[in-house]
């Protein structure tokens, strides 16, 4: 293989892994909330953006390091999700048809957050970049990989693994999956369903926040990323099967690699159309998605 080929191969791998892991994280966050509480969060993209913007404010205005900013955003995000659950979300637990009601409410939330962002952050819209956590470059043959992006890649994959372990082996994870499968049966077995709802909403939101921070560390971004991320996360959830974390991970990674590979052979636009088209095809033949919850 020539250097040029190795370069393209390695860049495909790195893009697939980073983008795929971030997509997978956000989709996992959405799918945990959906799978458990049956609440499809349409404002996940705005949550994602909120995390990135908060991290930017912490670094650019307060002069914190990126690491401190990330920690700050996670704490803030946890508090915010609890607050949101307490003010708004819990009112929807017993609504009939709650997934539609909730989807619409979060669309409203999206509008509000869009408005707030465009009043506050839009005038700096092309300046959102976080300083790297670690400097330097590691060479993989002819392919130079910035250490910062290696870190982002490592952390996202690690979080995905932790999430998987949590859901599989931790008592909370088992309770969550019990609620996934059958709410009434879980309640009969003594699971506190409302507490699980709250926990999974917070867990899902925090994962989305984390995705936002990691994205901000790896890329420059602007306000349009919210919508792109929302749509991508939903598309992944639909293809992977709503409520299936493993589906979110597999499909998220596939999306990342599709972006990278299709854009080599066709164009980046074709890549975008291809996965949205794939979603429509999946719906036609397998409306419940590829993976069972």
């Amino acid at each position: 293989m020539t250097d040029a080929q190795i370069l393209i191969l390695m860049s495909t791998l790195s893009t697939g892994l980073i983008l795929g892991a971030i997509f997978a994280l956000v989709a996992a966050g959405v799918t945990i909330v959906y799978g458990c509480v049956w609440l499809p969060n349409a404002s996940n993209g705005q949550f994602f953006l909120l995390a990135s913007l908060a991290a930017w404010t912490f670094t650019a205005s307060f002069g914190w390091t990126s690491l401190a900013a990330a920690a700050g955003v996670l704490i803030l995000g946890t508090a915010l999700s609890y607050l949101l659950e307490w003010i708004l979300i819990r009112r929807l637990y017993d609504t009939p048809n709650r997934n539609v009601a909730y989807f619409v409410v979060t669309l409203g939330l999206t509008q509000i957050m869009t408005g707030i962002f465009s009043l506050t952050y839009a005038k700096w819209s092309d300046q959102f970049t976080l300083p790297p956590v670690i400097e330097g470059i590691t060479m993989f043959g002819p392919f130079p990989m910035p250490n910062n992006r290696l870190l982002v890649m490592g952390v996202s994959l690690l979080v995905l693994v932790l999430l998987f372990v949590l859901l599989r082996y931790h008592p909370y994870g088992r309770a969550l999956r019990a609620v996934f499968q059958n709410r009434e049966a879980a309640a009969l077995r003594g699971v506190n369903v409302r507490a699980i709802y709250r926990l999974s909403f917070v867990l899902g939101s925090v994962i989305i926040f984390l995705g936002g921070i990691l994205f901000a560390l790896a890329y420059s971004y602007d306000l349009t990323v919210a919508w792109t991320m929302s749509i991508t996360a939903f598309a992944i959830m639909i293809i992977g099967g709503p409520g299936s974390v493993i589906g979110a991970v597999v499909v998220g990674m596939t999306f990342g690699f599709t972006q990278a590979i299709v854009s080599i052979f066709a164009s980046p636009t074709a890549a975008t159309f291809s996965y949205l088209g794939a979603m429509l095809l999946i719906l036609l033949f397998r409306p419940s998605g590829l993976f069972k919850r």
């Binding site: 040029a4 080929q5 370069l7 393209i8 390695m10 860049s11 495909t12 790195s14 893009t15 980073i18 983008l19 650019a60 408005g115 465009s118 009043l119 839009a122 005038k123 700096w124 819209s125 092309d126 300046q127 959102f128 970049t129 470059i137 392919f143 130079p144 990989m145 910035p146 994205f215 890329y219 420059s220 971004y221 602007d222 306000l223 349009t224 990323v225 919508w227 792109t228 972006q259 990278a260 854009s263 080599i264 164009s267 980046p268 636009t269 975008t272």
Partner: protein, 401 residues
Amino acid sequence: MNIKLKTCASAIALAAAALCAAPAAAQSPRPIKIGFVTELTGPWTFFGTSCVAGLKFATDEINKAGGVLGRPLEFIVTDNQTKSDQALAASRNLDINDKVLALSGPTSSDVALAMYGYAEQQKIPFLVPVAAFPQLTKPGTRYTFRIEPDAAGWGYAMAKYIEQVRPGAKVALMHSDAALMRAIMAGFRYQAPRSKLNIVADIMFPQGSSDATVQAAQVRAATPDYVIVSGAGAFDNVITNQLLDLGIKPQQIIHPFGITTQVFGWGQRSVGSIYGTFFDVGLDSLTPDGKDFIARFDAANNRPPSYVENYCYVTPYIFKEAIEAAGTADDREKLRNAISALNTKERTSGVPIVFDKNGARKEYMYFQEIVSVNGKRNYQSKQRFYIEWDPEVIPVYDLVK
């Protein structure tokens, strides 16, 4: 049914109340009103708000110095939400209810094109500060005047620059799928073979792209001499950084256009790269007025102005000179003729302002090299190239529909 009538009635009453409130504020001397419809919200907020910052500077100066024909100059700034129907409604409102003398303001091309239709139809002078779309001054245009050179021409200017610094160069293009970038690249693709340049890669990203590593690697594999990079919004930074990560030298990167905040975004690692501009702190030809404007803008906003703010700063002065030349502030046709006959210079840089019969300006462009970037506070640049051309040196209206 009754409810419907009531709500209609109350909506009309509401509107009427809003309209009646406006003339009450009128005093002597009556201000000269100009409608400034710009992007205060929506995706182009950044440009709209920057523009208003430049506009305010000049308006205050003019009014402190006694106004125009003894009357204060008033820009009624209205938000168009970066949406064409809102821009159209706002133009109509300003035209019919505020009876403005002229229209101005949009910084995004699609919104400007929507207003263009209205201005031409209603015969309202329409001065476009920062929209680079050639169709705004297509043949037959009478009331619209464009201050910024057209975007296809920027591509032409880049080709001319590369032709001069490295004849026969291999060039790669990476750009977002947005009207402005499409127009720039169309101009470049047209001129490249004529300037004996060789396009070795040409990659377009859909809106909403977030990664360009693979494309950067493809570009790197094509071993170009120069890479022209133009991403929409923050994606521009992503492409630039990923090219630099993969070992493309800053000296090989050319941005078709650069404004202050973008230069900050590219940062210290882009020192040596080139960007096109129409006004910059690093120009050789800054006038004393220009230096003064930069200093005062910097003091007020904590960063130097870029060409966006400069054009919006220049706009009130163009109106001032044209109204004074027309001798009246109440006749749209006379104002239109005065703007058309204008022969003046930008106060800040001395570049001539002359419009051709379609309202396009004799066009020009600077190419600056980044010398140093000091965080988000200021930067230095060095003028590398200046070019002037006739707008129709390339078939702009065929290249860009």
